[in-house]
Structures are given as structure tokens and as C-alpha cells.
């Protein structure tokens, strides 16, 4: 895919009411699963929703949303539409086996292009699935995109919380409101109804209390989440009456409420013409 045009400094997205980043410090905590199911849950609540996969190096959204083709960007109208969600991902324009061996400026260009050169139309929420860490993709988005807030995903164990704290600190430093913390893979309920806390207990809640941000809930481990994600039909869409889907609907409701509350903190800075 040829590099997009010149880099824009400040992105205006007049048709998009709220831009919500789903982030974590650490990889493998289920950001893409949470972002995908949160987007679908917001859609189930009647909102118009887009999902942007900002993980340029390892996009997961195509497989989770059941898009296995690679499209020619010269002849394809992006964003795609799946299950009522508008979608964009690097995985739609490069083959899954292609390694994107890029430095930061290229990541910056493509993320900016995904935000500005794609007609997202009228959306209530654009959910952005961020890659792990506090690097180029995160900086580009916090500097250029009109972010309403960020949802931090963590798993309960300390090794994940350490990195989640760094993610939180990054958003604090760049003054993006943290909507709250979601604890993913919180527990597993076995066939006999017993609850197993495989990765420990209460880490996400503890981090929320320490940092003074809302705790948005616990999402259990469930083989159905994996099966649905791998088959391209996320659990909120495939099994909307399942307890997990209901957890995601509560999460979507809480995110909507918190975004409304934090809209003042995310107000644009004043400008000056010289």
C-alpha cells in the first residue's frame, strides 16, 4: 500500500461525537476482544459505532470481525461494515503473513490517514483499539485525534497492573480523561459452578481505587469468547443473551455515562491566530 498524503496536525472529525481509545500498557490482556465487544454492545444500545484498529503491527480486528479478505485500497470504499459497525484496520490492506517493519513516522502517517482520509460519516462512538505500550501510535492519537477518553484494560495479576499504571500515567500526562478500568480474564467458572481466580483477585479494582478512576467491571474467562473471536463472530453478536454479552452491555452503559461526564475535561484548548 503506498504511503498516504502529508501528515495532518490536528484532526477534526465533525461527524464523530465521541472517540474512545481502548488501551493497556501490556499486550495480551484482551484489548481487541474488549474493544470489539464494547463496540458491538454500544451498537446494541442503539448507538452508531465505528471501530478503528490502531495496531498497525499486529491487527486483530479483521479475524475477530470475520473479515478474511485483503482489499485493494484504490478500488475499495473504507470503512467496511460488519454487524452494523464501521471498520478499518491495517489487516484489510496487507496480507496477514506480511510483517509491517516500520518506524514511528510511518505508523503516524497511517493512523492519521485512517482517521482523516476515511469517511467515517456520522458516529456516536468511534472505538479505537490501541496497540500495547506507550509509544508512537499512542502519541499520535493523543496529539492529533479528538479523544473523549480512554478505557484501560488489565488482567488481575501484578505483572499486568504495572504496565496498566504506565498507560494510565500516559493518559494523565497528555490530559486525556480515563473513563475507567476494565478487568479482563478476571475469573473462570467451571462446569460445577465453582469460581476460579486463575490470575489472582481484585487487581483491576485495586488499581482503580489507587488512581481514583472508575472501575468499570470484571469480564470472566470463557472458552466461548475465544471460539467466537476466532470464528469472526464476537460473543456479544453471536450469543447476545449470554451472561458475558450482558456484562459487555453493562460495560457499554457505564462507558456512555462516563464519556458524558468527562466531556468537559476533554474540551478543546483555545486557539490563537497570529
Amino acid at each position: 500500500m503506498p504511503p498516504p498524503g502529508p501528515v495532518q496536525e490536528k484532526i477534526a472529525m465533525p461527524g464523530v461525537k465521541n472517540v474512545v481509545a481502548v488501551a493497556s500498557g501490556k499486550g495480551g490482556v484482551g484489548k481487541s476482544t474488549v474493544a470489539t465487544n464494547l463496540a458491538l454492545a454500544l451498537h446494541m444500545l442503539g448507538r452508531r459505532v465505528g471501530l478503528l484498529d490502531a495496531d498497525i503491527y499486529g491487527p486483530s480486528i479483521p479475524i475477530m470481525m470475520g473479515v478474511s479478505e485483503v482489499f485493494d485500497p484504490n478500488t475499495t470504499q473504507f470503512p467496511l461494515d460488519r454487524y452494523g459497525i464501521k471498520l478499518m484496520s491495517m489487516g484489510f490492506v496487507v496480507k496477514p503473513e506480511t510483517a509491517m517493519i516500520w518506524r514511528g513516522p510511518m505508523v503516524h502517517k497511517y493512523i492519521t490517514a485512517f482517521l482523516t482520509q476515511i469517511n467515517w460519516g456520522e458516529l456516536d462512538y468511534l472505538v479505537i483499539d490501541l496497540p500495547p505500550g506507550t509509544g508512537d501510535a499512542q502519541l499520535t492519537l493523543t496529539q492529533t485525534a479528538p479523544l473523549s477518553g480512554a478505557v484501560i484494560v488489565t488482567t488481575p495479576q501484578e505483572v499486568s497492573l504495572i504496565d496498566a499504571r504506565k498507560g494510565l500515567e500516559m493518559f494523565n500526562q497528555v490530559r486525556v480523561p480515563v473513563i475507567g478500568i476494565v478487568e479482563n480474564m478476571s475469573y473462570f467458572v467451571s462446569g460445577d459452578g465453582k469460581r476460579h481466580e486463575i490470575f489472582g483477585h481484585g487487581g483491576g479494582k485495586k488499581l482503580a481505587q489507587e488512581t481514583g478512576v472508575p472501575f468499570l467491571g470484571e469480564i470472566p474467562m470463557d472458552p466461548d469468547i475465544v471460539k467466537c473471536g476466532d470464528s469472526g463472530d464476537p460473543i456479544v453478536h453471536k450469543l447476545p443473551d449470554s451472561p458475558i454479552a450482558k456484562t459487555y452491555l453493562s460495560l457499554a452503559t457505564l462507558v456512555s455515562e462516563q464519556v458524558t461526564k468527562s466531556s468537559n475535561a476533554a474540551a478543546e484548548l483555545p486557539t490563537l491566530q497570529l
Binding site: E9, N172, V174, R175, V176, A267, L269, T271
Partner: protein
């Protein structure tokens, strides 16, 4: 109000040589543009500040003209970027940094 909660409510040009920022706590900061440039937080300027001056540095033609700001624009929710007449544009002035650089008589008195 903690500095992290402060935000500018208005930016104004004060003559040719000054910038004024009105903050959410009612404070009014005043800066000479040259003061801001000499406290540019970019890596290049910070590195330059920490090194002894190079006596053999050759000035560019734009450096001989009086330095002035060309534009000042917000970066995300947390900083401003100033583009200068000599083309320098890599400094992101965070809100905390701008507040700390305030040159109003009250703030100047409080500085050690």
C-alpha cells in the same frame, strides 16, 4: 487548584512581543515570545542548552532576522506547539511548562 487541573481559557497577543494566557483559576500569565523560545523544551534545544556554545557555528540567514512566532496551535489536550520564523517547530510546550514559565510580576517574585 493543582497545576494538572489548570487549563487555559483564552490566549491573546499582547503587542508584537508578548503572549497572554488566561487560566481557568483566573490567573493571567504574560510571556515575552523570546522568553518562550529560550525555554523551548524540544530535545534539540535542551541538548543545546546543556552544551557549551560552539564558537564556529555558522548562522543561517533566518537567524539574523528578528525572531517572531508564526503560529501557536494546540496539541491534543495537553500542550501548544509554536512555529517560529526561523522554521523551528519541534518544541511542545505542555500546559504545566507554560504555567511554570509565567513572567507576571507575582510569579517572578515567587521564583527562587
Amino acid at each position: 487548584m493543582p497545576v494538572a487541573d489548570l487549563r487555559p481559557v483564552a490566549l491573546k497577543k499582547d503587542g508584537d512581543d508578548r503572549l497572554t494566557i488566561e487560566w481557568s483559576d483566573g490567573h493571567r500569565s504574560s510571556y515575552l515570545w523570546t522568553h518562550l523560545r529560550s525555554h523551548c523544551p524540544c530535545a534539540g534545544c535542551k541538548g543545546e542548552h546543556e552544551q557549551p556554545p560552539d564558537p564556529f557555528r555558522i548562522l543561517k540567514p533566518t537567524e539574523l532576522e528578528p525572531l517572531k512566532p508564526v503560529s501557536i496551535s494546540p496539541i491534543g489536550h495537553y500542550a501548544y506547539k509554536i512555529v517560529w520564523s526561523d522554521g523551528h517547530d519541534s518544541g511542545l510546550f505542555t500546559l504545566e511548562h507554560l504555567r511554570a514559565l509565567c513572567q507576571c510580576p507575582d510569579c517572578v517574585k515567587k521564583k527562587p
